[in-house]
Amino acid sequence: MPRNASGIYTTPAGTTAVSGQTISSTAYNNFLNDISQAITQSLPVNGVVAMTGNLNMGNYRVTNLLSPPQAPQDAVPQLYVDSQSQFGGFQNRIHNGNLDVWQRGAGPFAVATNSYLWTADGWIVSNGATGATVNVQNTTGRFLTYYSLQLTGAAGVTAVTVTTRIEAADAVALQTRVCTFQAWIYNGTGLAFIPALQVQYANAVNNFSGGVTSIISANLQNCAAGVWTQVAYAFTPPTQAANGLQVSIAFPSGALAVSGYIARIAEVDLRPTPNVTNNALVTLPPPFEKRPVAVEYAYCQRYYEMSLNNAGSFTAAGQQQVFITGLASAANNGGVATQFKVTKSGVPTVFVFSPITAAANKVRDNVSNVDVTPTVSNIGSQGFFWYAAMNVAGTQVNLTAHWSCYVPDLGGG
């Protein structure tokens, strides 16, 4: 046995050379065989073979680890751990990166050519200038999320782009730092395609409609047909990213140009990764951060909120429409201060609509069973006020309304 239980190597008995005596071949070979076995059981420094048992560090450190890790099982140095925890758990800067929040409903949303629609919370789908309508809906997620965003193509569909935005207050922490964008993409078409990552910053604070400046437009990983592929790319936003950042996944023209062809997006993440090579594909990005859905829902409501569960069933029981009742009065009107559940990132644009007919800028007079026009005022980041007069003087006041609101460019518009 080359080593004892303490790992100490001792040469075999009878193999120690004695001065002036001939070394026997038996003793010599016993020694060589024993020491060969000992070397074989030792750890080669060039890593050509793996351990065959657990590596007990005996309360010593592994030092000088290379960062960043390259494989899921790699050990990581403290340097890397520190770089990953700088936001206290909220590392993923993309809201609804899990694609689990769909306040506008599950879809399908028909995005006509040369237009765009807000679909899942925080996600804008744009269709090419020419081609055909592309449909968007939620569907089963990949692994860590309940849903994913699904694009369904049709004959003639050209370029389709899926975009999200990061408000200035969050984007400021990304400026001049190497950041890694990552997502999982399912290719449900018959052919492989290569999506592109496009990143822009707003030219004015949280105003993307007023113009954006491109930072990068780079090809992502090749996505084979019929499987999920993780795509990831590292880039460095400039200081102007403090105005707000826009990140898009662009599907190549024609990739969805067959009826029934689909593509899905899930588990989208963007965060600073200081030790990653800039302007390059990333082989192993940090683990996707999935926040609890309750937290993500409130995060989304910072930009978009409505008084009902989704736009498709606003007359259903349990929808929290605003309800006012009272006695007849000289003015015969009623009003209510509506409080948002989540404070908005800015003063939002507001819609008030009839819970019966869905007519915009109307509320429902439940005595005469007609829609009447409300007056809206005092819109702020925490709520607004509306009132309306009954259709017939002297009746009981009984009004109902639904509302929605969005922060333009960040939650809708």
Partner: protein
């Protein structure tokens, strides 16, 4: 196109019925200002509706 609402702090966007607050930082307001800068003018606020006079139901006369 836009229509005044009779309120000093917002305007109605005709296309979708949105109430746009006069708030710096609201991009819809910024677009409204762009529209004004092009020489456009919002339509005046419609007059408030005049409620129909209430007519109480007539009591049935007791049968003799």
């Amino acid at each position: 196109m836009y229509t005044q609402t009779g309120q000093p702090d917002n305007v109605l966007r005709d296309a979708d019925g949105a109430i746009i607050p006069f708030a710096e930082g609201n991009v819809d307001y910024w677009q409204y200002q762009q529209w004004l800068a092009e020489g456009n003018t919002p339509a005046p606020a419609p007059p408030p509706p005049v409620p129909t006079p209430y007519t109480p139901p007539q009591e049935e006369s007791p049968q003799s």
